[in-house]
Symmetry: none
Subunit: 234 residues, 2 copies
DNA sequence: CAGGAAATTGACGATTTTGTGACAGGTCAC
DNA sequence: GTGACCTGTCACAAAATCGTCAATTTCCTG
Protein backbone atom coordinates (compact mmCIF):
# COMPACT_ATOMS: atom_id res chain seq x y z
CA UNK A 1 0.00 0.00 0.00
CA UNK A 2 2.48 2.63 1.10
CA UNK A 3 5.34 2.95 -1.33
CA UNK A 4 8.54 4.83 -1.96
CA UNK A 5 7.95 7.11 -4.91
CA UNK A 6 10.42 9.21 -6.79
CA UNK A 7 8.85 12.34 -8.19
CA UNK A 8 10.72 13.93 -11.09
CA UNK A 9 9.32 17.36 -11.80
CA UNK A 10 11.07 20.65 -12.43
CA UNK A 11 8.24 22.99 -11.60
CA UNK A 12 8.46 23.62 -7.83
CA UNK A 13 4.79 24.46 -7.40
CA UNK A 14 3.60 21.31 -9.10
CA UNK A 15 6.22 19.28 -7.33
CA UNK A 16 4.99 20.55 -4.01
CA UNK A 17 1.38 19.92 -4.89
CA UNK A 18 1.91 16.36 -6.00
CA UNK A 19 4.20 15.51 -3.12
CA UNK A 20 1.63 16.77 -0.65
CA UNK A 21 -1.07 14.64 -2.18
CA UNK A 22 1.01 11.52 -2.30
CA UNK A 23 2.12 12.09 1.24
CA UNK A 24 -1.46 12.30 2.32
CA UNK A 25 -2.11 9.00 0.57
CA UNK A 26 0.54 7.41 2.75
CA UNK A 27 3.38 7.28 0.29
CA UNK A 28 6.93 8.29 0.96
CA UNK A 29 8.05 10.79 -1.64
CA UNK A 30 11.54 11.68 -2.77
CA UNK A 31 11.87 14.53 -5.24
CA UNK A 32 14.18 15.37 -8.07
CA UNK A 33 14.14 18.50 -10.19
CA UNK A 34 16.02 17.16 -13.17
CA UNK A 35 16.73 13.88 -14.88
CA UNK A 36 20.36 13.61 -13.82
CA UNK A 37 19.51 13.89 -10.15
CA UNK A 38 16.66 11.50 -10.66
CA UNK A 39 18.90 8.93 -12.24
CA UNK A 40 21.29 9.07 -9.33
CA UNK A 41 18.51 8.75 -6.78
CA UNK A 42 16.99 5.80 -8.58
CA UNK A 43 20.33 4.01 -8.51
CA UNK A 44 20.78 4.65 -4.83
CA UNK A 45 17.33 4.34 -3.41
CA UNK A 46 15.61 1.98 -5.85
CA UNK A 47 12.14 3.44 -5.35
CA UNK A 48 9.02 1.37 -5.89
CA UNK A 49 7.76 3.68 -8.59
CA UNK A 50 8.87 6.70 -10.59
CA UNK A 51 6.54 9.57 -11.39
CA UNK A 52 8.17 11.25 -14.34
CA UNK A 53 7.41 14.58 -15.90
CA UNK A 54 8.09 14.43 -19.60
CA UNK A 55 9.21 18.01 -19.98
CA UNK A 56 12.44 18.50 -18.13
CA UNK A 57 15.42 20.83 -18.47
CA UNK A 58 18.51 19.01 -19.62
CA UNK A 59 17.98 15.31 -20.11
CA UNK A 60 14.43 14.66 -21.19
CA UNK A 61 12.06 12.40 -19.39
CA UNK A 62 12.05 10.08 -22.34
CA UNK A 63 15.79 9.69 -22.18
CA UNK A 64 15.65 8.99 -18.47
CA UNK A 65 13.01 6.34 -19.03
CA UNK A 66 15.17 4.73 -21.68
CA UNK A 67 18.14 4.59 -19.34
CA UNK A 68 16.15 3.17 -16.50
CA UNK A 69 14.88 0.47 -18.80
CA UNK A 70 18.39 -0.25 -20.00
CA UNK A 71 19.79 -0.86 -16.54
CA UNK A 72 19.26 -4.32 -15.21
CA UNK A 73 18.59 -3.16 -11.69
CA UNK A 74 16.08 -0.49 -12.51
CA UNK A 75 14.38 -2.21 -15.39
CA UNK A 76 11.37 -3.40 -13.50
CA UNK A 77 10.61 -0.21 -11.63
CA UNK A 78 7.23 1.02 -12.84
CA UNK A 79 7.12 4.43 -14.47
CA UNK A 80 4.13 6.70 -14.70
CA UNK A 81 4.64 9.71 -16.86
CA UNK A 82 3.11 13.12 -16.50
CA UNK A 83 2.28 14.86 -19.74
CA UNK A 84 0.62 18.07 -20.74
CA UNK A 85 -2.53 17.80 -22.76
CA UNK A 86 -1.77 17.59 -26.43
CA UNK A 87 1.66 16.01 -26.25
CA UNK A 88 0.29 12.91 -27.81
CA UNK A 89 3.36 11.75 -29.57
CA UNK A 90 5.15 11.91 -26.25
CA UNK A 91 2.61 9.65 -24.64
CA UNK A 92 3.04 7.07 -27.29
CA UNK A 93 6.79 7.35 -27.25
CA UNK A 94 6.68 7.00 -23.51
CA UNK A 95 4.59 3.89 -23.58
CA UNK A 96 6.89 2.45 -26.17
CA UNK A 97 9.81 3.33 -23.97
CA UNK A 98 8.36 1.21 -21.27
CA UNK A 99 6.29 3.56 -19.17
CA UNK A 100 3.53 1.69 -17.41
CA UNK A 101 0.94 4.38 -17.56
CA UNK A 102 0.58 8.05 -18.22
CA UNK A 103 -1.57 10.77 -16.82
CA UNK A 104 -2.46 14.04 -18.46
CA UNK A 105 -2.17 17.36 -16.68
CA UNK A 106 -4.18 18.72 -15.21
CA UNK A 107 -5.29 15.70 -13.26
CA UNK A 108 -7.12 15.20 -10.02
CA UNK A 109 -5.12 14.01 -7.04
CA UNK A 110 -7.49 11.14 -6.70
CA UNK A 111 -6.88 9.92 -10.21
CA UNK A 112 -3.15 10.06 -9.68
CA UNK A 113 -3.37 8.07 -6.50
CA UNK A 114 -5.66 5.56 -8.17
CA UNK A 115 -3.29 5.03 -11.07
CA UNK A 116 -0.34 4.59 -8.76
CA UNK A 117 -2.25 2.03 -6.83
CA UNK A 118 -3.24 0.19 -9.98
CA UNK A 119 0.30 0.06 -11.30
CA UNK A 120 1.73 -1.10 -8.00
CA UNK A 121 -0.96 -3.71 -7.73
CA UNK A 122 0.02 -5.20 -11.05
CA UNK A 123 3.63 -5.42 -9.99
CA UNK A 124 3.00 -6.68 -6.51
CA UNK A 125 4.20 -10.21 -6.10
CA UNK A 126 1.50 -12.58 -5.08
CA UNK A 127 1.88 -13.34 -1.41
CA UNK A 128 2.13 -16.92 -0.30
CA UNK A 129 -1.35 -18.25 -0.45
CA UNK A 130 -0.69 -21.80 0.61
CA UNK A 131 -2.65 -23.08 3.55
CA UNK A 132 -0.60 -23.99 6.56
CA UNK A 133 -1.40 -26.92 8.80
CA UNK A 134 0.44 -27.57 11.99
CA UNK A 135 -0.50 -29.72 14.91
CA UNK A 136 -4.23 -29.71 14.39
CA UNK A 137 -4.27 -26.03 13.61
CA UNK A 138 -4.96 -24.89 10.07
CA UNK A 139 -4.66 -21.44 8.57
CA UNK A 140 -5.68 -20.55 5.05
CA UNK A 141 -4.60 -17.16 3.70
CA UNK A 142 -6.88 -17.46 0.69
CA UNK A 143 -10.05 -17.79 2.68
CA UNK A 144 -8.59 -16.00 5.66
CA UNK A 145 -9.78 -18.70 7.96
CA UNK A 146 -8.24 -20.37 10.97
CA UNK A 147 -9.54 -23.55 12.47
CA UNK A 148 -8.57 -25.96 15.18
CA UNK A 149 -9.86 -29.20 13.76
CA UNK A 150 -13.48 -28.35 13.03
CA UNK A 151 -13.75 -25.42 15.34
CA UNK A 152 -13.21 -22.03 13.72
CA UNK A 153 -11.02 -19.46 15.41
CA UNK A 154 -11.73 -15.76 15.14
CA UNK A 155 -8.77 -13.43 14.91
CA UNK A 156 -8.16 -9.78 14.22
CA UNK A 157 -5.99 -8.82 11.25
CA UNK A 158 -2.80 -8.40 13.23
CA UNK A 159 -3.33 -11.60 15.17
CA UNK A 160 -3.93 -13.37 11.91
CA UNK A 161 -0.69 -12.12 10.40
CA UNK A 162 1.19 -12.96 13.55
CA UNK A 163 -0.11 -16.50 13.64
CA UNK A 164 0.56 -16.86 9.93
CA UNK A 165 4.16 -15.86 10.39
CA UNK A 166 4.66 -18.09 13.41
CA UNK A 167 3.11 -21.07 11.65
CA UNK A 168 5.29 -20.62 8.62
CA UNK A 169 8.36 -20.29 10.83
CA UNK A 170 7.71 -22.75 13.60
CA UNK A 171 10.06 -24.22 16.17
CA UNK A 172 12.15 -21.12 16.04
CA UNK A 173 12.53 -18.32 18.52
CA UNK A 174 11.67 -14.87 17.21
CA UNK A 175 12.66 -11.76 19.09
CA UNK A 176 10.11 -9.02 19.51
CA UNK A 177 12.10 -6.88 17.13
CA UNK A 178 12.00 -9.59 14.47
CA UNK A 179 8.29 -10.05 14.91
CA UNK A 180 7.71 -6.34 14.58
CA UNK A 181 9.69 -6.35 11.35
CA UNK A 182 8.00 -9.36 9.88
CA UNK A 183 4.44 -8.91 11.05
CA UNK A 184 4.05 -5.19 11.48
CA UNK A 185 6.52 -4.09 8.82
CA UNK A 186 9.96 -2.65 9.44
CA UNK A 187 8.87 0.94 9.06
CA UNK A 188 6.37 0.91 11.86
CA UNK A 189 7.11 2.51 15.16
CA UNK A 190 5.45 0.64 17.98
CA UNK A 191 6.57 -0.49 21.37
CA UNK A 192 8.07 -3.93 21.65
CA UNK A 193 5.65 -4.68 24.44
CA UNK A 194 2.90 -4.51 21.89
CA UNK A 195 4.05 -7.87 20.66
CA UNK A 196 3.40 -9.31 24.08
CA UNK A 197 -0.13 -8.05 24.04
CA UNK A 198 -0.87 -9.56 20.67
CA UNK A 199 0.68 -12.84 21.66
CA UNK A 200 -1.58 -12.83 24.64
CA UNK A 201 -4.62 -12.18 22.46
CA UNK A 202 -3.58 -14.96 20.17
CA UNK A 203 -3.19 -17.34 23.08
CA UNK A 204 -6.57 -16.31 24.38
CA UNK A 205 -8.16 -17.11 21.04
CA UNK A 206 -6.39 -20.43 20.74
CA UNK A 207 -6.86 -21.65 24.28
CA UNK A 208 -10.61 -22.42 24.16
CA UNK A 209 -9.99 -24.77 21.27
CA UNK A 210 -7.33 -26.71 23.08
CA UNK A 211 -4.12 -25.21 21.84
CA UNK A 212 -2.55 -24.02 25.00
CA UNK A 213 1.15 -24.49 24.88
CA UNK A 214 1.39 -23.76 21.17
CA UNK A 215 3.01 -20.39 21.58
CA UNK A 216 5.84 -20.57 24.05
CA UNK A 217 7.71 -17.82 25.78
CA UNK A 218 11.46 -17.93 25.71
CA UNK A 219 12.44 -15.69 28.51
CA UNK A 220 14.88 -13.02 27.50
CA UNK A 221 14.64 -13.89 23.81
CA UNK A 222 11.16 -13.86 22.45
CA UNK A 223 8.46 -16.28 21.38
CA UNK A 224 8.28 -19.58 19.60
CA UNK A 225 5.48 -21.56 18.07
CA UNK A 226 5.96 -25.24 18.49
CA UNK A 227 3.90 -28.34 18.02
CA UNK A 228 6.09 -29.98 20.66
CA UNK A 229 5.01 -29.33 24.21
CA UNK A 230 7.18 -26.92 26.11
CA UNK A 231 9.56 -29.08 28.04
CA UNK A 232 10.52 -28.43 31.59
CA UNK A 233 13.88 -30.07 31.79
CA UNK A 234 15.05 -33.13 29.93
CA UNK B 1 -3.62 -20.67 -21.06
CA UNK B 2 -5.73 -21.44 -24.10
CA UNK B 3 -8.31 -18.75 -24.68
CA UNK B 4 -11.14 -17.79 -26.99
CA UNK B 5 -9.97 -14.81 -28.96
CA UNK B 6 -11.93 -12.66 -31.32
CA UNK B 7 -9.81 -11.22 -34.08
CA UNK B 8 -11.20 -8.12 -35.76
CA UNK B 9 -9.22 -7.36 -38.89
CA UNK B 10 -10.37 -6.44 -42.38
CA UNK B 11 -7.25 -7.37 -44.29
CA UNK B 12 -7.60 -11.08 -45.16
CA UNK B 13 -3.87 -11.74 -45.44
CA UNK B 14 -3.12 -10.31 -42.04
CA UNK B 15 -6.14 -11.96 -40.57
CA UNK B 16 -4.92 -15.30 -41.81
CA UNK B 17 -1.42 -14.73 -40.55
CA UNK B 18 -2.46 -13.76 -37.06
CA UNK B 19 -5.04 -16.50 -36.77
CA UNK B 20 -2.47 -19.09 -37.75
CA UNK B 21 -0.04 -17.87 -35.14
CA UNK B 22 -2.58 -17.72 -32.39
CA UNK B 23 -3.85 -21.14 -33.31
CA UNK B 24 -0.33 -22.48 -33.04
CA UNK B 25 -0.12 -20.94 -29.58
CA UNK B 26 -3.13 -22.97 -28.55
CA UNK B 27 -5.78 -20.29 -28.73
CA UNK B 28 -9.17 -20.66 -30.30
CA UNK B 29 -9.69 -17.86 -32.79
CA UNK B 30 -12.92 -16.44 -34.15
CA UNK B 31 -12.64 -13.84 -36.88
CA UNK B 32 -14.58 -10.80 -37.90
CA UNK B 33 -13.91 -8.52 -40.84
CA UNK B 34 -15.78 -5.49 -39.61
CA UNK B 35 -16.90 -3.89 -36.40
CA UNK B 36 -20.60 -4.68 -36.79
CA UNK B 37 -19.93 -8.38 -37.14
CA UNK B 38 -17.49 -8.20 -34.31
CA UNK B 39 -20.01 -6.60 -32.02
CA UNK B 40 -22.52 -9.33 -32.73
CA UNK B 41 -20.00 -12.06 -32.12
CA UNK B 42 -18.86 -10.53 -28.87
CA UNK B 43 -22.44 -10.45 -27.64
CA UNK B 44 -23.00 -14.05 -28.56
CA UNK B 45 -19.73 -15.71 -27.79
CA UNK B 46 -18.26 -13.52 -25.06
CA UNK B 47 -14.65 -14.21 -26.00
CA UNK B 48 -11.88 -14.00 -23.43
CA UNK B 49 -10.11 -11.29 -25.36
CA UNK B 50 -10.59 -9.06 -28.38
CA UNK B 51 -7.79 -8.30 -30.80
CA UNK B 52 -8.94 -5.18 -32.50
CA UNK B 53 -7.58 -3.52 -35.60
CA UNK B 54 -8.04 0.19 -35.33
CA UNK B 55 -8.55 0.84 -39.04
CA UNK B 56 -11.79 -0.75 -40.10
CA UNK B 57 -14.31 -0.10 -42.81
CA UNK B 58 -17.56 1.22 -41.41
CA UNK B 59 -17.62 1.52 -37.67
CA UNK B 60 -14.16 2.31 -36.40
CA UNK B 61 -12.28 0.24 -33.91
CA UNK B 62 -12.46 3.05 -31.45
CA UNK B 63 -16.22 3.15 -31.65
CA UNK B 64 -16.43 -0.58 -31.15
CA UNK B 65 -14.22 -0.34 -28.10
CA UNK B 66 -16.45 2.36 -26.71
CA UNK B 67 -19.53 0.20 -27.17
CA UNK B 68 -17.94 -2.83 -25.61
CA UNK B 69 -17.01 -0.76 -22.59
CA UNK B 70 -20.50 0.64 -22.36
CA UNK B 71 -22.22 -2.73 -22.24
CA UNK B 72 -22.05 -4.25 -18.83
CA UNK B 73 -21.79 -7.77 -20.14
CA UNK B 74 -18.77 -7.05 -22.26
CA UNK B 75 -17.24 -4.36 -20.11
CA UNK B 76 -14.52 -6.48 -18.60
CA UNK B 77 -13.37 -8.24 -21.77
CA UNK B 78 -9.76 -7.22 -22.42
CA UNK B 79 -9.01 -5.42 -25.65
CA UNK B 80 -5.68 -5.30 -27.41
CA UNK B 81 -5.58 -2.94 -30.32
CA UNK B 82 -3.56 -3.32 -33.46
CA UNK B 83 -2.23 -0.11 -34.91
CA UNK B 84 -0.06 0.85 -37.82
CA UNK B 85 3.08 2.72 -37.04
CA UNK B 86 2.41 6.41 -37.03
CA UNK B 87 -1.19 6.33 -35.94
CA UNK B 88 -0.15 7.87 -32.70
CA UNK B 89 -3.24 9.73 -31.79
CA UNK B 90 -5.18 6.52 -32.21
CA UNK B 91 -3.09 4.74 -29.65
CA UNK B 92 -3.68 7.39 -27.09
CA UNK B 93 -7.36 7.54 -27.84
CA UNK B 94 -7.52 3.79 -27.62
CA UNK B 95 -5.91 3.60 -24.24
CA UNK B 96 -8.19 6.32 -23.04
CA UNK B 97 -11.11 4.34 -24.37
CA UNK B 98 -10.15 1.47 -22.17
CA UNK B 99 -8.00 -0.74 -24.33
CA UNK B 100 -5.72 -2.87 -22.19
CA UNK B 101 -2.74 -2.79 -24.48
CA UNK B 102 -1.74 -1.99 -28.00
CA UNK B 103 0.71 -3.43 -30.42
CA UNK B 104 2.20 -1.78 -33.48
CA UNK B 105 2.32 -3.44 -36.87
CA UNK B 106 4.46 -4.99 -37.98
CA UNK B 107 4.94 -7.15 -34.93
CA UNK B 108 6.48 -10.50 -34.31
CA UNK B 109 4.13 -13.39 -33.59
CA UNK B 110 6.01 -14.03 -30.43
CA UNK B 111 5.45 -10.54 -29.16
CA UNK B 112 1.75 -10.77 -29.87
CA UNK B 113 1.41 -14.03 -28.03
CA UNK B 114 3.37 -12.62 -25.12
CA UNK B 115 1.13 -9.59 -24.83
CA UNK B 116 -1.97 -11.71 -24.97
CA UNK B 117 -0.65 -13.86 -22.23
CA UNK B 118 0.20 -10.84 -20.13
CA UNK B 119 -3.23 -9.34 -20.49
CA UNK B 120 -4.98 -12.59 -19.74
CA UNK B 121 -2.83 -13.19 -16.73
CA UNK B 122 -4.01 -9.97 -15.18
CA UNK B 123 -7.49 -11.32 -15.13
CA UNK B 124 -9.05 -14.36 -13.64
CA UNK B 125 -10.62 -16.69 -16.19
CA UNK B 126 -13.68 -15.03 -17.59
CA UNK B 127 -16.77 -16.28 -15.91
CA UNK B 128 -18.63 -18.83 -17.94
CA UNK B 129 -22.16 -18.79 -19.15
CA UNK B 130 -23.03 -21.70 -16.96
CA UNK B 131 -25.60 -21.22 -14.25
CA UNK B 132 -24.18 -21.18 -10.76
CA UNK B 133 -25.91 -22.68 -7.78
CA UNK B 134 -24.64 -22.24 -4.29
CA UNK B 135 -26.37 -22.71 -1.00
CA UNK B 136 -29.93 -22.32 -2.23
CA UNK B 137 -29.01 -19.38 -4.38
CA UNK B 138 -28.96 -19.73 -8.15
CA UNK B 139 -27.65 -17.35 -10.77
CA UNK B 140 -27.99 -17.79 -14.50
CA UNK B 141 -25.79 -15.59 -16.67
CA UNK B 142 -27.67 -16.55 -19.80
CA UNK B 143 -31.04 -15.33 -18.59
CA UNK B 144 -29.53 -12.79 -16.26
CA UNK B 145 -31.66 -14.06 -13.44
CA UNK B 146 -31.04 -14.70 -9.78
CA UNK B 147 -33.29 -16.67 -7.52
CA UNK B 148 -33.31 -17.88 -3.96
CA UNK B 149 -35.16 -21.14 -4.27
CA UNK B 150 -38.37 -20.08 -5.96
CA UNK B 151 -38.18 -16.46 -5.04
CA UNK B 152 -36.63 -14.21 -7.67
CA UNK B 153 -34.06 -11.62 -6.68
CA UNK B 154 -33.78 -8.31 -8.47
CA UNK B 155 -30.33 -6.89 -8.97
CA UNK B 156 -28.74 -4.04 -10.86
CA UNK B 157 -26.10 -4.85 -13.46
CA UNK B 158 -23.14 -4.18 -11.22
CA UNK B 159 -24.63 -6.08 -8.35
CA UNK B 160 -25.25 -8.96 -10.70
CA UNK B 161 -21.68 -9.06 -11.91
CA UNK B 162 -20.43 -8.75 -8.36
CA UNK B 163 -22.56 -11.63 -7.18
CA UNK B 164 -21.60 -13.66 -10.20
CA UNK B 165 -17.94 -13.21 -9.51
CA UNK B 166 -18.34 -14.00 -5.84
CA UNK B 167 -20.38 -17.11 -6.57
CA UNK B 168 -17.84 -18.38 -9.04
CA UNK B 169 -15.04 -17.70 -6.57
CA UNK B 170 -16.60 -18.60 -3.27
CA UNK B 171 -14.91 -19.01 0.11
CA UNK B 172 -11.97 -16.96 -1.01
CA UNK B 173 -11.39 -13.50 0.35
CA UNK B 174 -11.27 -10.77 -2.26
CA UNK B 175 -9.78 -7.39 -1.54
CA UNK B 176 -11.61 -4.33 -2.71
CA UNK B 177 -8.85 -3.79 -5.26
CA UNK B 178 -9.30 -7.29 -6.65
CA UNK B 179 -13.03 -6.86 -6.87
CA UNK B 180 -12.57 -3.60 -8.72
CA UNK B 181 -10.25 -5.33 -11.16
CA UNK B 182 -12.48 -8.31 -11.71
CA UNK B 183 -15.93 -6.81 -11.57
CA UNK B 184 -15.41 -3.27 -12.72
CA UNK B 185 -12.37 -3.90 -14.91
CA UNK B 186 -8.87 -2.72 -14.17
CA UNK B 187 -9.10 0.27 -16.46
CA UNK B 188 -11.76 1.87 -14.32
CA UNK B 189 -10.88 4.32 -11.61
CA UNK B 190 -13.39 4.37 -8.85
CA UNK B 191 -13.03 4.61 -5.12
CA UNK B 192 -12.46 1.40 -3.25
CA UNK B 193 -15.30 2.28 -0.94
CA UNK B 194 -17.64 1.97 -3.88
CA UNK B 195 -17.25 -1.75 -3.43
CA UNK B 196 -18.63 -1.45 0.07
CA UNK B 197 -21.68 0.32 -1.18
CA UNK B 198 -22.41 -2.32 -3.77
CA UNK B 199 -21.85 -5.08 -1.28
CA UNK B 200 -24.34 -3.40 0.94
CA UNK B 201 -26.87 -3.19 -1.88
CA UNK B 202 -26.29 -6.81 -2.67
CA UNK B 203 -26.79 -7.79 0.94
CA UNK B 204 -29.94 -5.73 1.09
CA UNK B 205 -31.29 -7.59 -1.94
CA UNK B 206 -30.36 -10.98 -0.56
CA UNK B 207 -31.51 -10.51 2.99
CA UNK B 208 -35.30 -10.63 2.45
CA UNK B 209 -34.92 -14.05 0.88
CA UNK B 210 -33.05 -15.47 3.80
CA UNK B 211 -29.45 -15.20 2.72
CA UNK B 212 -28.01 -13.10 5.43
CA UNK B 213 -24.53 -14.22 6.25
CA UNK B 214 -23.73 -15.17 2.69
CA UNK B 215 -21.43 -12.26 2.03
CA UNK B 216 -19.04 -11.86 4.89
CA UNK B 217 -16.77 -9.01 5.78
CA UNK B 218 -13.19 -9.91 6.51
CA UNK B 219 -11.97 -6.91 8.37
CA UNK B 220 -8.79 -5.48 6.97
CA UNK B 221 -8.89 -7.73 3.92
CA UNK B 222 -12.08 -7.57 1.96
CA UNK B 223 -15.17 -9.66 1.38
CA UNK B 224 -15.94 -13.32 1.05
CA UNK B 225 -18.95 -15.25 -0.13
CA UNK B 226 -19.39 -18.41 1.81
CA UNK B 227 -22.10 -20.92 2.49
CA UNK B 228 -20.47 -21.56 5.82
CA UNK B 229 -21.20 -19.18 8.64
CA UNK B 230 -18.47 -16.71 9.49
CA UNK B 231 -18.19 -17.91 13.02
CA UNK B 232 -19.65 -20.83 14.83
CA UNK B 233 -21.94 -19.80 17.60
CA UNK B 234 -21.21 -21.47 20.93
C1' DC C 1 14.69 -16.67 50.04
C1' DA C 2 14.89 -11.89 48.48
C1' DG C 3 15.53 -8.66 44.69
C1' DG C 4 14.70 -7.45 40.39
C1' DA C 5 14.19 -8.15 35.52
C1' DA C 6 10.94 -10.04 32.29
C1' DA C 7 6.45 -11.32 31.03
C1' DT C 8 1.34 -11.43 31.68
C1' DT C 9 -2.85 -9.25 32.16
C1' DG C 10 -6.89 -6.13 32.22
C1' DA C 11 -8.41 -1.75 31.09
C1' DC C 12 -8.98 2.17 28.11
C1' DG C 13 -8.76 5.88 24.83
C1' DA C 14 -7.38 6.51 20.04
C1' DT C 15 -7.45 5.05 15.53
C1' DT C 16 -8.93 2.54 11.67
C1' DT C 17 -12.25 0.20 9.15
C1' DT C 18 -16.88 -0.73 7.76
C1' DG C 19 -22.01 0.13 7.51
C1' DT C 20 -25.58 3.33 6.11
C1' DG C 21 -28.45 6.84 4.22
C1' DA C 22 -28.58 10.54 1.13
C1' DC C 23 -27.69 12.76 -3.16
C1' DA C 24 -26.32 14.52 -7.74
C1' DG C 25 -25.54 12.83 -12.43
C1' DG C 26 -26.19 9.81 -16.10
C1' DT C 27 -28.64 6.43 -19.03
C1' DC C 28 -32.33 4.42 -21.21
C1' DA C 29 -36.89 3.17 -22.56
C1' DC C 30 -41.03 5.22 -23.38
C1' DG D 1 -38.79 15.32 -22.76
C1' DT D 2 -39.46 12.63 -18.62
C1' DG D 3 -39.59 9.37 -15.24
C1' DA D 4 -37.51 5.11 -13.52
C1' DC D 5 -33.48 3.11 -12.60
C1' DC D 6 -28.35 2.80 -11.64
C1' DT D 7 -23.95 4.62 -10.16
C1' DG D 8 -20.24 6.59 -7.65
C1' DT D 9 -19.17 9.50 -3.82
C1' DC D 10 -19.67 11.64 0.45
C1' DA D 11 -20.45 12.46 5.43
C1' DC D 12 -21.56 10.49 9.46
C1' DA D 13 -22.54 6.56 12.63
C1' DA D 14 -21.21 2.25 14.40
C1' DA D 15 -17.83 -1.31 15.22
C1' DA D 16 -13.79 -3.49 15.67
C1' DT D 17 -9.05 -3.30 16.47
C1' DC D 18 -4.82 -1.25 18.04
C1' DG D 19 -1.14 0.41 20.98
C1' DT D 20 -0.01 1.78 25.51
C1' DC D 21 0.07 1.81 30.36
C1' DA D 22 0.27 0.35 35.03
C1' DA D 23 -0.50 -3.23 38.11
C1' DT D 24 0.67 -8.05 38.84
C1' DT D 25 2.70 -12.28 38.42
C1' DT D 26 6.50 -15.30 37.06
C1' DC D 27 11.00 -16.64 36.90
C1' DC D 28 15.86 -16.38 37.32
C1' DT D 29 20.10 -15.09 40.16
C1' DG D 30 22.83 -14.79 43.80
Amino acid sequence: MAANILLVEDEPAIQELIAANLGRAGHHVVRAGDAETAQRIVREALPDLVLLDWMLPGMSGIELARRLRADERTRTIPIIMLTARGEEQDKVAGLEMGADDYITKPFSPRELVARIKAVLRRRAPQATEDPVVLGGLSLDPATHRVAAGERPVTLGPTEFRLLHFLMTHPERVHSRAQLLDQVWGDHVFVEERTVDVHVRRLRAALEPVGHDGLIQTVRGSGYRLSAQPAVAGV
